[in-house]
Symmetry: C2
Subunit: 152 residues, 2 copies
Amino acid sequence: MHTRYLEDFSVGEKFRTRGMTVDESEIMDFARKYDPQPIHTDVEAAGAGPFEGLIASGFHTACVIFRLWVDLGLMEKSSLGGPGIQDLRWVLPVRPGDTLHGEIEILEARPLKSRLDRGVLRYHTIGYNQRDEAVITFDSASFLKRREAVSA
Amino acid sequence: MHTRYLEDFSVGEKFRTRGMTVDESEIMDFARKYDPQPIHTDVEAAGAGPFEGLIASGFHTACVIFRLWVDLGLMEKSSLGGPGIQDLRWVLPVRPGDTLHGEIEILEARPLKSRLDRGVLRYHTIGYNQRDEAVITFDSASFLKRREAVSA
């Protein structure tokens, strides 16, 4: 897909990403760096733990789904960073071999009054596994360039 | 520090993590995997971009601060995973060479009525840079074991 600017998004519009399989070595590699808890880094300890097996760090799941969204290329030339994330929920554990994809729905595409060259895009993301079960949901936002800066 | 169970936390209690320096290669390595946008992966393009230089992915900043919290070891034997994150804000960009630390304040430590062996710990996290400027804030939660399961 090609870069879109703020005006090119419509409220209610939906996008679906490609899938990505998360394997055991990637789960453990991510967790050793960013979430070194035994349920993410130690197969044996995780097997005896509350999830009865190794699960991905919730931060890892969020990062994979966000990466798939970035890969759509919609914001490639228009993104100006993001203000944050609202209400991120880890709904189900992600296990080695799960194949994740994201579905993103546009909630708002609003020009900023304070900066005439940009606006805020808000969107709801759901990450699904290969059984089409939601594993993560979050609302986030990006600042996007407008197609043409508007005069005051 | 030693593992704490739900009852060992008090509302208003504060913790400070050690610092961790985020260098250019780590920023680019993370971003190539999880947030491949030029402002995070391409020094030259980032220099001409909205932040006038390479900045860390906001997801990377969140992961580094969370890792420093995990490293305190408070939840090492008591964590049962987490339900999610509320209201994550990227306040200032993180640049190569910045040294980050986290300050965490306990908001709530509440036993669950539905599961007598555990409760919910809610906490507010602020990530600071070496100039003591807040770069990220978020509220998150963990399910923690109680010291002893309570009979109904």
